[in-house]
Symmetry: C2
Subunit: 389 residues, 2 copies
């Protein structure tokens, strides 16, 4: 029973002059209704919500905390239902960032007396602060990354391909109930379940889908993730994996050497960890998000890595992490523009990497729970540069 | 060099009175430009297309056959570029079915002198007929399903869970370069890479995302695919897997018994294969799609399975297959409403299943290439009911 989520949304609707919201996107539906079956959810500013079930009713009946629910979900039926709730005109909130144009166009035609407003920012603002249940699931997701990290340490050796490493890690994921589907809110982005696995020169070949170590993938159709490159003796290897466990994503990264680390690599990794520690050390409830970014960047500049932090040249990104939960790319983005405060019970993926042509990359990412006075790292495994083989 | 794809689209734009199209969706972009990096593609009704590269230029340079390309891609820049091509007003084609409302709204604001039209139906009509290269990739994708089928026959035994079977099949997929990301055009649908794996009573528990054997998954957050149910002696098991190989998806299903098949199961499977053979036998270039459906359904009725074909009760579907390629759910849908003809070099996933409460399900799906006078099944493995253990 998580009806308090509906009540919080209703307060936000009221504050923003939105008369009702119609939730269509599957992760938002799951958050507010408890089911990921094909449904539409009508949330009036006041009063009881109504779940319209398009299919899968035998599942919905067991899963949802929304009462009542009815079968259906056409735009016409939704307009009629809203009328029955006494809402015949005004402002209607829908999710502009994810719902296709064609569908919202059909909705607009069925709701001629309504102005449409984007309700996604309100939803994502609400979802940014996690319930205790959500934090527990994120902790369990992180425990599964720990298992992957152990397996990577045990398995990496010169001669294996990035793809073979991916197979080892996928096996650990699947046998530990990690979903092999990662949810990203951005409509034209995707991640494979084992994430970005890259080694050697692939560490500084940055595909366009994000400003990070991307790997180059197997073909032009999906230019991201593990490739069939063979890992060589003394290569650096990065594993940056999302973990979808019961719908909640952890996002962590570790760096490995296929062999013993050279002094330069040790020193570079130590400098990287200084940046990461500075950023993490700045986290506490109340601090503006952009300050965490600035504190991390100050350390980057002091250490002389400004040209290689989060990429280089065209591919360099201006961020230090992001919120995480039902989707991998949740607000807040830890960047210089985000002036809102960090809040207690946010869960953040804080990530630092140096990507250096002709060197490769070192990368650490931690999923952390924001507490009143600081943060807690949700993984338990070592965060050191891992020597293997 | 596949510029002929652009020329075909231009003919369709001309026939439909669309002055230019702006392609934003990643699979369409890959089809027309050869790159899946973040780009936008401007296709005027006449003359040279222009690719705008948002990121990943070092990849795009090696991949695309579109010349020229430029950096950028904001709605404003696109409007300016279209003006430079001499197109300052008229009808602008965009993809209504996949591009989010917010993005097309920003586009509309930048193109005030244009009326927007949905270009997706024209694109999907074109993509339905495959090039020889595409058919070859679909054949290679099907060869990878054959490897999965072999592994399933070798591995299935009472006592293993659906999830353990999924792990075995994922390992075969990954080591044979099957992408662990399946592309579906429908904005709110998804499939895990090993697809629907279901056994025993899970065969007739139908989740709402499609009218098929869905499996029940691991949690309410992703109610589809393998669960942690343990396979019992003499259970029926279905594996229905999409295979994304270099961007092209095969879609095939097989049915297994954990042990020896009873006479009822043999008979039911034999009847199912009669339906599948009837449907396949109807396929040839020129026949209306709906006739294939009707011929299959006539056989279903004659055999007395009308209440259990493609599900039962509320969950019963009216279809016999679908096109397949860069996405799993391509047109044409083989259903009673599709009156367009089947065309040479379409690739279709033809699927028959009986789902019977208290019995389970039997399921066969074949990916077939439509030839002038018939069809070719692209898998080579046995399509019999497979006894295992």
């Amino acid at each position: 029973m998580k009806l308090h989520r509906i009540h919080s949304l209703q307060r936000k609707l009221s504050e923003n002059g939105i008369d009702a919201a119609i939730i269509l996107q599957h992760r938002d539906l799951f958050y507010y209704s408890g089911t990921a079956q094909p449904c539409n959810l009508i949330v009036p500013q006041k009063g009881a919500p109504l779940l319209l079930v398009r299919r899968g009713e035998s599942f919905v009946r067991e899963e949802t905390w929304i009462e009542p629910y009815e079968m259906g979900g056409s735009p016409k039926q939704m307009a009629r239902k809203l009328g029955e709730l006494g809402i015949s005109h005004g402002t209607l909130g829908v999710e502009f960032d994810t719902v296709p144009y064609g569908l919202i166009q059909r909705m607009a035609a069925a709701f001629p007396a309504f102005t449409l407003a984007d309700v996604s920012p309100l939803i994502m603002e609400q979802r940014a602060v996690k319930d205790p249940d959500e934090i527990q699931l994120l902790r369990e997701a992180c425990a599964r990354f720990d298992l992957m990290h152990e397996a990577a340490q045990r398995s990496i050796r010169a001669g294996m391909t990035e793809l073979e490493l991916s197979a080892v890690l996928a096996d650990v994921q699947i046998r530990n109930q990690v979903e092999q589907r990662v949810f990203i809110r951005r409509w034209d982005d995707w991640l494979q379940p084992t994430g970005a696995i890259a080694s050697g020169e692939n560490l500084h070949r940055i595909s366009g889908h994000a400003h990070t170590v991307t790997g180059v993938g197997l073909s032009t159709a999906l230019p991201w993730g593990a490739s069939d490159r063979e890992i060589c003796e003394n290569d650096l290897i990065v594993v940056d994996s999302p973990i979808n466990y019961k719908g909640y994503h952890a996002d962590n990264a570790r760096t490995y050497v296929a062999g013993r680390a050279t002094p330069r690599r040790r020193d570079t990794y130590r400098d990287l960890m200084e940046v990461q520690s500075a950023a993490l050390g700045a986290i506490r409830a109340g601090i503006p998000v952009q300050e965490v970014f600035e504190i991390g960047m100050e350390k980057v500049r002091n250490l002389g890595f400004a040209d290689f932090f989060q990429g280089f040249g065209d591919s360099q990104g201006q961020y230090l992490g992001h919120g995480i939960g039902l989707e991998v790319d949740e607000p807040p983005v830890i960047d210089p523009r985000t002036s809102t405060p960090i809040l207690k019970d946010m869960v953040l993926a804080v990530e630092s990497k140096f990507i250096i042509p002709d060197f490769g990359a070192v990368f650490i990412e931690d999923t952390v729970h924001v507490t009143e006075g600081g943060y807690e790292i949700l993984t338990r495994s070592s965060r050191d540069l891992a020597e293997t083989g």
